[in-house]
């Protein structure tokens, strides 16, 4: 169990508005280092809700969440923010770059916030990641001047800047065309295989899920099936 990155223990979640509805029920699983995991299920099955609980942004749940074998449950907001900054990288369905900044600055932002490296080092690391994803030419453009597929790659570079333990994605290809989806999937795959990056991706794209190492299928707030692909 030494290389467990994330562990969910009996997580329950209710929506209280307008009436109490149980959206997640007794979710327990672990993710080990280097795994490429997808969560699939129909729309409304609670897979996104689960992701936001696992990402520490949603704190209104019952059960326990451990990241890096440290319990996140009941921690104060600034500490959780620190954990997100240091250990988790995000890629969303919509790209959510800050339009006031250049591409490079967008990638650097979480690194500067962490403060582990000097500004020059962070800049260099950001350039490395942009180069790795083949978009180093965009570095000086404003974030609103690049295309959707490029934006998603920039978001991945930003997610990687602090060498996170795990990258979480909420439908990262949901808003992209076939070709760009392919590019993004290839990047994830490369990250998993070459860099042993742990990934947890929520998607409704069965094809996408089928090509990953491990798939968690959900229905009505419950995990109904784990499928492990033979290596």
């Amino acid at each position: 169990m030494g290389n467990t990155i994330l562990e969910a223990r009996h997580i329950d979640k209710y929506f209280h508005d307008p009436v109490g509805v149980k959206v997640l029920s007794d979710i327990s699983f672990t993710i080990d280092k280097g795994e490429f995991v997808t969560v699939t299920g129909r729309s409304g099955c609670g897979k996104s809700t689960l992701l936001y609980i696992l990402s520490t942004m949603d704190t209104d749940y019952a059960g326990e969440l451990l990241i890096d074998n440290v319990s996140m449950t009941g921690k104060p907001e600034p500490e959780l923010a620190r954990v997100r900054n240091e250990k988790i990288g995000f890629v969303f369905q919509f790209h959510y770059l800050l339009n006031e900044f250049t591409v490079l600055q967008n990638v650097m932002l979480p690194g500067l916030k962490l403060g582990r490296y000097t500004k020059q080092e962070v800049q260099q690391r950001a350039m490395e990641r942009l180069t790795m994803l083949g978009i180093e030419k965009l570095a000086c453009k404003k974030a609103n001047q690049v295309s959707g597929g490029e934006k998603q790659r920039i978001a991945i570079a930003r997610a990687l800047i602090n060498d996170p333990h795990i990258i979480m994605g909420d439908e990262p290809t949901g808003n992209l065309d076939k070709k760009n989806s392919e590019v993004v999937f290839d990047i994830f795959k490369r990250l998993a295989e070459e860099y042993k990056q742990t990934l947890l991706i929520v998607t409704h794209d069965q094809e996408f899920a089928a090509r990953t190492q491990r798939n968690i299928q959900m229905e009505d707030g419950k995990i109904i099936q784990y499928s492990q692909k033979a290596q």
Binding site: S48, Y52, D58, A81, R84, N85, L98
Partner: protein, 417 residues
């Protein structure tokens, strides 16, 4: 912290027109605050000095009044009753200050006193053909009177120093001279209360700005006044005192009254309503100024609120990538404070320039001979208050929106798309 500043800058400059409008709001209100208060305080100071410049802080004199200890009070059985009978009337025979030379000597060595000026006040008639015009004649030491009470500044025609140089000379109130139809160099006939008649040469006109004063006042030298009354060189009726600490005047007046056994009148008793007037004027101008600042505060509040609605996505992503609520709050507080700081600074400078402008406007009125332009005060206190309030109002205006921004739940924003 540097990161937060750079994010705030990016947000500020991304919508620089909005930022500019907010800053102009602050600038305008601070400009008006500084100019309005400077102008108001300047006018107040002028109105006060109209009176205070010429008024001694403490005046020692002998008042004509009945004896405080009436004979009936000396009879023990009646001591505590109410006395209807005041048998001993006032005697006005002696207005002279007793032992005036010794009193002046004692005052000169008193460290609280900055200057003293002896004076003789007397009543006289100016004879103009068949009519007599009643007026006061003040015997003064011209030099003392000018240093302490700006006497020379109020001599609008002729020369104040001529009182000393020309023997038997007089300076008339301007309105009085107009009534007498006389000009400088001519001679007026004067009859004292004792019935003596003197010719005096006119060497100047004096104008206080208060018409009723100008109609009945005239000035001559101390020696001439003594001659008119037929008194010796030690005869004076008033000692005017200027002291260092104006607020101590009432207490010192009481002290001198018992010490020198004279009547003593202090500035505060004389000018109580003046103080009230200037206090109320200041109060009104401060109220208007602070209202302006509060209005600009609402402007900032609105703009920040709008900015937060527009930047919901950015705030959500900042939070998702590891910025805590308090970091987001700092960003927006910083935005508000920099609008307040730069807007306020520009406002102080513009307010100062506007004050300079007002200061150049001609303002001439016959009643105020020494004033040629609108009076403006450059009191640093006004600028300090302006600076403090610009920061304070923007901080308060920024606080609520910042709190809202810090409480934004990123999950709702990100999922809500």
């Amino acid at each position: 912290m540097k990161l937060i500043v750079s994010i705030a800058h990016a947000l500020l400059f991304a919508r620089w027109r909005q930022t500019l409008v907010a800053a102009i709001g602050v600038t305008f209100s601070i400009t008006m605050f500084v100019a309005l208060l400077g102008f108001m305080t300047g006018l107040n100071d002028m109105m006060d000095s109209l009176f205070l410049n010429r008024t001694p802080h403490i005046r020692l004199y002998n008042e004509i009044k009945p004896a405080t200890l009436q004979p009936i009070q000396q009879a023990p059985p009646y001591r505590n009753g109410y006395h209807f009978i005041h048998s001993v009337k006032a005697s006005g025979s002696r207005q002279e200050l007793y032992n005036s030379l010794a009193i002046m000597e004692a005052l000169r060595i008193d460290p609280r006193v900055t200057g003293i000026a002896p004076k003789i006040t007397m009543q006289a008639f100016f004879n103009d053909g068949a009519i007599d015009i009643a007026a006061s004649v003040n015997g003064i030491q011209e030099q003392q009177e000018s240093t302490l009470f700006h006497f020379a500044e109020y001599v609008v025609k002729g020369e104040a120093a001529a009182l000393v140089k020309v023997p038997n000379s007089i300076i008339l109130g301007k309105a009085l001279a107009e009534n007498l139809l006389v000009d400088i160099g001519e001679v007026v006939q004067l009859t004292t209360a004792g019935g003596e008649r003197f010719p005096l040469k006119i060497v100047g006109f004096w104008q206080s700005g208060i018409q009723d004063f100008d109609k009945v006042q005239s000035f001559t030298s101390l020696a001439t006044a003594q001659k008119l009354l037929g008194k010796t060189a030690s005869y004076i009726t008033d000692i005017q005192i200027k002291i260092k600490d104006i607020d101590a005047a009432p207490a010192m007046a009481r002290e001198y009254a018992t010490l020198f056994n004279t009547s003593a009148q202090d500035l505060q008793t004389l000018n109580a309503e003046f103080e009230t007037g200037s206090f109320i004027r200041s109060l009104i101008s401060y109220a208007v100024g602070i209202t302006l600042l509060i209005v600009s505060g609402f402007g900032i509040y609105n703009i920040l609120n709008m900015m937060i609605y527009e930047k919901m996505d950015s705030i959500a992503i900042l939070k998702a990538t590891g910025f805590a609520g308090r970091d987001v709050k700092k960003v927006f507080i910083y935005i508000a404070m920099s609008i307040g700081f730069w807007g306020g600074l520009a406002g102080l400078i513009l307010g100062w320039l506007l004050s300079l402008g007002i200061d150049q406007l001609p303002f001439e009125t016959t009643s105020l001979p020494t004033i040629t332009t609108y009076p403006v005060s450059y009191d640093p206190l006004i600028y300090t208050i302006g600076a403090v309030f610009s920061l304070l109002s923007t901080y308060i205006a920024g606080w609520l929106p910042s709190r809202k921004a810090s409480k934004i739940d990123p999950v709702i924003i990100i999922r809500g798309k």
